[in-house]
Structure formats: structure tokens, C-alpha cells
Symmetry: C2
Subunit: 208 residues, 2 copies
């Protein structure tokens, strides 16, 4: 799950949605502050601004809460992907690459992505986490394949194998995020975004 919509900006919402959103925001804050292994229900409760009993009423298990948190983020990611301007295949593809490798990541973004990578590394042991990461990869890959296919149909892109081009971009973006967040080096992410954009320009664009 390489890309995370900004959890910090929450929408207007009804009361029930608002409780869920505030639990999710508390989870986000706890993960940024403590990392995954040291995040507990108690630490999430410390970040929760409403009554703690309300949190414990909904969740008594860290894994259940984090599974819902991953699902919540994925719903937001789906919305973000839907909002991307789809008129021009090149612009659309570059916008997805920016979601995978966000420009100007700050420390908090880095801490958060680190926590997500820690959760991903636990996916082999948690069926629930794994299902969410599978859904996230599928979502990105489907979107990438579809934009490359549209570009080819519109004769803006060369007639490449869309599945292969999509997977190459996706793998390179994930590898760059992994390296950048584990070594605490956002230059890796900047550099790889430029490399992938260069690949799009020189290998996909028909008339480059």
C-alpha cells in the first residue's frame, strides 16, 4: 500500500462517521508517534479526543482496529484516484505516479509510511492485513493498466504491453518508497519519481 491519502484533512461528516474518523485519526497519530510494533490500543486511546470507553466499546484488539484503519485508508485512496483528472492519459499517469511517490514528503508523511511498511511486513502473519494490501495493490495496478491502455488507444502512447509497463512502474515506485522510508532518505523518493517520469516520457509517449 504505497500511497496514503492525507489522513490529516478530515471531511465534514455525521456523528457516527465522525466517531469512526476520530478513531482513525487517533490511530494515525499513534502510528506516526510510536511506529507499528509499539502502537497499542492504549496508545491509540491516548490520542483519541472523545471518551476512551467509546474507543474500547468499538475495539478491544489492536489488529482488528488496524485492519479497519487500512480499509478506511483504502476507501480514501479510492476516492482520491477517482478524483484525478482523466482527460489526458499522460497527465493521469503522472498524477498516479505522484500518489505513489508524493512530492515534498514531510517528516510526518515519512513516519506514517514507515508504519505502513511495518504493517505490510506483518501481512504474512495477518490474513486481515494481507487482504487490505492485496486490495491496495490491485487498485493501483488496475488503474495503471487502464490509463496505459487508454493512452495506447488514443495513440498518445506507444503500443507497449500495458500490464508490463504498469507493473514495472508500480514495482519501481514501491521499491523506492521502501528504500526511502527505511533509510530515512527522501531524496531516494524524489530521484525515483524523476526516473519513472523519464521512463514514461522516453518509453511510453509516442511522440516524445
Amino acid at each position: 500500500m504505497a500511497c496514503w491519502p492525507n489522513v490529516r484533512t478530515m471531511s465534514d461528516s455525521t456523528d457516527a462517521e465522525s466517531v469512526t474518523e476520530e478513531i482513525m485519526l487517533a490511530t494515525y497519530r499513534a502510528l506516526c508517534t510510536h511506529g507499528y510494533p509499539n502502537t497499542s490500543i492504549a496508545k491509540i486511546a491516548d490520542e483519541f479526543e472523545k471518551s476512551k470507553s467509546l474507543l474500547y466499546y468499538h475495539y478491544d484488539d489492536k489488529e482488528d482496529l488496524l485492519e479497519d484503519f487500512l480499509a478506511f485508508l483504502l476507501d480514501r485512496l479510492e476516492t482520491r484516484l477517482d478524483e484525478v483528472d482523466r482527460d489526458d492519459p499522460e497527465e493521469h499517469l503522472l498524477a498516479i505516479i505522484d500518489l505513489l511517490l508524493p512530492p515534498e514528503m514531510d517528516d510526518e508523511d515519512g513516519q506514517f509510511r514507515r508504519a505502513v511498511l511495518e504493517m505490510r511486513s506483518q501481512a504474512p502473519y495477518h490474513e486481515g492485513y494481507r487482504a487490505q494490501f492485496e486490495r491496495s495493490d490491485e487498485l493501483f495496478l488496475t488503474e495503471l493498466v487502464s490509463v496505459v491502455e487508454r493512452g495506447i488507444e488514443a495513440e498518445e502512447f506507444r503500443p507497449v504491453n500495458a500490464e508490463e509497463a504498469a507493473e514495472f512502474i508500480f514495482s519501481a515506485a514501491n521499491g523506492a518508497v521502501e528504500r526511502g522510508v527505511t533509510l530515512g532518505d527522501t531524496d531516494v523518493i524524489e530521484r525515483n519519481r524523476e526516473i519513472i517520469r523519464g521512463y514514461v516520457e522516453s518509453q511510453l509517449l509516442r511522440y516524445a
Copy 2:
């Protein structure tokens, strides 16, 4: 640290080396069986075939032992990289790609790489781990850049930007391993090896 030399085949060695190697082999087995978070000094001692007090004499801290384990693997990786046939740049490059994305990974390879990814996800919190992963990335990138440069000099490869081509290949390989091991899907690794080989053939080879 995307690629690991086979720890299962240990060399002939002196007694002191042999104790170290057996501690490393016990560590390897414990990581495969229990994953990183559940590996403790006690569990490594259970896998150790010599006296447990000998192990505790050398290490009383899991992190220290695992840091030495990463360094040990890196030394072996360096040897493996040195042993690769360097006569032909294309063959050399494909051999490095096979080290990054090994053909025919079995369950044990998968379990081990999973444990390495877990350690990598903890690198932000462990200076010692981070230093080893930095060394590993550096080792692979330097090797990749150098083979691409040699291929360009020999006029076997097109005059691409060697640093960018090397980093693109390295990122894509790492992203594929991350996805493959966390989702337990070795097809991802097979598929991405072919995609990266296709990139080498169509984008690097001058006369393809």
C-alpha cells in the same frame, strides 16, 4: 537488502569461524521459523547445536546478534557478487538481476526474505540495522552502475544514463520482492524478473 546468499551452504572453516557460522545458521533458522518479531536469543539458542552458554557468551542482546547476522550475510553477498562472471556485460547484468530476484524461490527462501523485510522495516529505529541495509543497497547499486557503464563502453549497451538505469532496475526488483514476500506470491517475483529482463533487452542492449 534484497538479495541473500544461501546461508544453508556453509563452507569448511576453522573452529572459531565455525562457531560464528553455526551461530549465524541458528539465527537464520530461527528467523525462518519464527519471523523477526518472535525471534529471541532463547529461540536462536534452541536452534544452536553447540553449548547454549557459548552462544550467550557471545551475545546477550537480540539486536547485536542480528546486526552481526546482517553483516555476515553482506560479506557473503559481496563474495557472491565477486564470483559472478564479468566477461560479458549483458550476462553480468542478468546475473545480478537473478541475485535480486532469484529464480525458483522455495518456501524457506520466502520465509527468510520476509524476515529480512521485517528487519528492514525496523531499520529506522536501529542505527546498526540501518547501516547494514545502507551498505547492502550501496553494494548493489555500485555493482549495477559499473556493469551498465562497462556495457556502454564496450558499445554493447546504448549510451543511457547508467546511474538512472541502475536505480530503476534496483527499485523495481526491491518493490517486486516486497510485494511477493508480503503477499506470499512468488509469481510476482517471476513476473517482475521477466519484465526487468525485457527492459534490459529493449532499452539497454544496443543491437536488440
